[in-house]
Symmetry: C2
Subunit: 452 residues, 2 copies
Amino acid sequence: MAEALESKSPQSQLRALNAALTDGRFVSVRKMLHELPASDVALILESSPTKTRDELWELIDGDFHGDILEELSEDVRNGIISKMVPEKVVDALEEMDTDDLAETLSSLPEEVLQGILESMDAQDRVRAEQAMSYGEETAGFIMNTDTITLRPDVTVDVVLRYLRLKGDLPENTDTFYVVNRTDNLVGLVPVARLLTADPDDTVSEVMDDDPEAIPVNMPDDEVASLFERYNWLSAPVIDDKQRLVGRITIDDVVDIIREDAEHSMMSMAGLDDEEDTFAPVWQSTQRRSVWLAVNLVTALMAAAVSDLFEDTLSEMAVLAILNTIVPSMGGVAGNQTLTLVIRGMALGHVNGSNARWLVSKELAIGLLNGVIWAALIATVIGLWKQDLMLGVVIAFAMMVNLIAAALSGATLPMIMKRLKIDPALAGSVILTTITDVVGIFAFLGTATLLLT
Amino acid sequence: MAEALESKSPQSQLRALNAALTDGRFVSVRKMLHELPASDVALILESSPTKTRDELWELIDGDFHGDILEELSEDVRNGIISKMVPEKVVDALEEMDTDDLAETLSSLPEEVLQGILESMDAQDRVRAEQAMSYGEETAGFIMNTDTITLRPDVTVDVVLRYLRLKGDLPENTDTFYVVNRTDNLVGLVPVARLLTADPDDTVSEVMDDDPEAIPVNMPDDEVASLFERYNWLSAPVIDDKQRLVGRITIDDVVDIIREDAEHSMMSMAGLDDEEDTFAPVWQSTQRRSVWLAVNLVTALMAAAVSDLFEDTLSEMAVLAILNTIVPSMGGVAGNQTLTLVIRGMALGHVNGSNARWLVSKELAIGLLNGVIWAALIATVIGLWKQDLMLGVVIAFAMMVNLIAAALSGATLPMIMKRLKIDPALAGSVILTTITDVVGIFAFLGTATLLLT
């Protein structure tokens, strides 16, 4: 009878494995690893520090290497492959589907890739080079070539007999493709349709004869959004001469959807999407330092603005105390707008025809926010520091900065997209620079004019 | 022949629609809307300001309402439904699958929902209440009940004849479910298997007899990660008595995967996932103000820490100028760690067995970062302000704060998860509070001790 998946937790498996590994019970570790599905072993490897990861990998039989490599994230996979002898890598790659082969090979560092290609025999090398021949992040790169094609003029009965003879179908086959003599795609037959069709009908009578197909060079994020939009499970891929070259299945697209959605979050924190949580300390430190360097420059710029008002600051220490409030509120409000616009662009909601409307909307919010928070901060500071004029100054600065924040949060992603810069990566740091500089300038500048 | 999808852009359609709407060419707007697939109309509605959205909705024929509502995001859908008369809503809901019905109804405000339920006839009301009977965000909530079940003892030939008689199969049917007399799930038959099987075999001979099934009360994010992990296209759902109650298909799971991945990014900016980019100004202002209020408290706390050092600040204005650098660097470094750990937890990589290892790794990065950026900032400030001792003070504060940032970035998400608080929502604001307070305290405190 059916077995309910009590969300079989790889966590508990990981704990058991770690205990066995620490005790040196390598035989049972080996046994445990071989009994798990490849995707679970991959998750366990990804959840382990590099040292444990290498030890575990050594214990896994070479026959399983290919399946597990397929499931690993880029960083982790590259780390493991770089430590394997090229011949073993070649063995592991032999069983891979074209799309996984293309992804695995093209993410490798150049010198490792060369070593592997040199260890391949001529036939494998041709297959590998063909898999990599389509640009990364295109439909051709993520497609599989294991399509089942039918001719339009044969009967359903003949097809059924052919399939029975053939036995197993490729994984996730939900559609057969109908092609003419020159391999042009002329129709689709869903698998379920063959079951319900009259055996005497010809393929051309039961097929959908107006198939929509993905051009082989379409960017993969557009492919993903078509799958999402039309709830496809698979789609045919054609070259520029309308010839069928492969198919894309939803399981490959799911990875792209997750990666795209994660990309913005990781980029906004200045992280690489593929960053391995368990990478060695030095590697992680290097990767993250770029972002800290950029931020140091930003922080120094803000300090330089404060520096312009050194006299005012030395006269009134209270300004120094309150100097961080206005920039901080601007940063938060601006980041809200920025995040919303970046997501709206990713979902295809924000575009030329409504951009102006959106900017005015965000500006209106900025104004409204400005009034609300200016009134509030004026009250708080007026009461805390018993200084009405100080309250007025900070209120004015708050208003100016929240409007600047809304304006930059809404327009920055649009400007950057036009300049072909990733808004998620650079947007947040530019925005913070603007809100810091405007906030400090407005606060200390007004204070210098009105209070000294 | 196949038609290559030149990523048919809803943007250009939107522009054409807007032009027609402005010119008052309502008949052509209507025609354009009815020629597009429901998902494209949904995208167009989501990309329009509320006023345009309402005008467009008025022009769409009631027959299409259900299909379009299914595709809309929660906020936009609720806005439209709230303005419709309940009877029209009931008509639109009639054609919906159980999972879409459940989602649509349970996200509605209570009073709107009541109005709709009251307008339904008894049969529809039972169906609606049943759809909503499973907890939101569970397998039961996202499943569909349109399964095709087979008996184990009939032959493949009988099944084929039955299917031919039945004609169309439910959308995305890739598996038939085998149940016994008490509706217990005993096996699975992939659709493609029936094509290649011997017609004289019985169903029990061709089925997978060890099916894995999802318990009806499993949280939907666990369902999504199972689909991702095992590359499933669909999965059966069973109740606590092992009875088949429905099936979940990948297209429903894709939405959950995207929403989960987006959730963290939106939460970290203090936004609601479902926030409608084109909502009215006042509604957006209210929603975002909670986060600004929280941040104001944080900023005031930081100011209160600076306030402790008023004398030092009034003595040395240069400290006021540099006071933002250390907190800012701590915030950025801490947010990197926080984002990485939150993503690691979402992917299931971070758990009890490796948490300690991860915290020590991040601490090591914090230390290393501390040394690097302390040295750098000491040099910059030493040269800029020609004050060696000032360089030493800021270097020390930087070191302390980067270590505090690493420690809180790594531990906060784990602590919050244990307390059942969403780390993405509250993590970032708590972290910034910590890095602000520690940074200011370390900088001004050391300065007070060493420089005055």
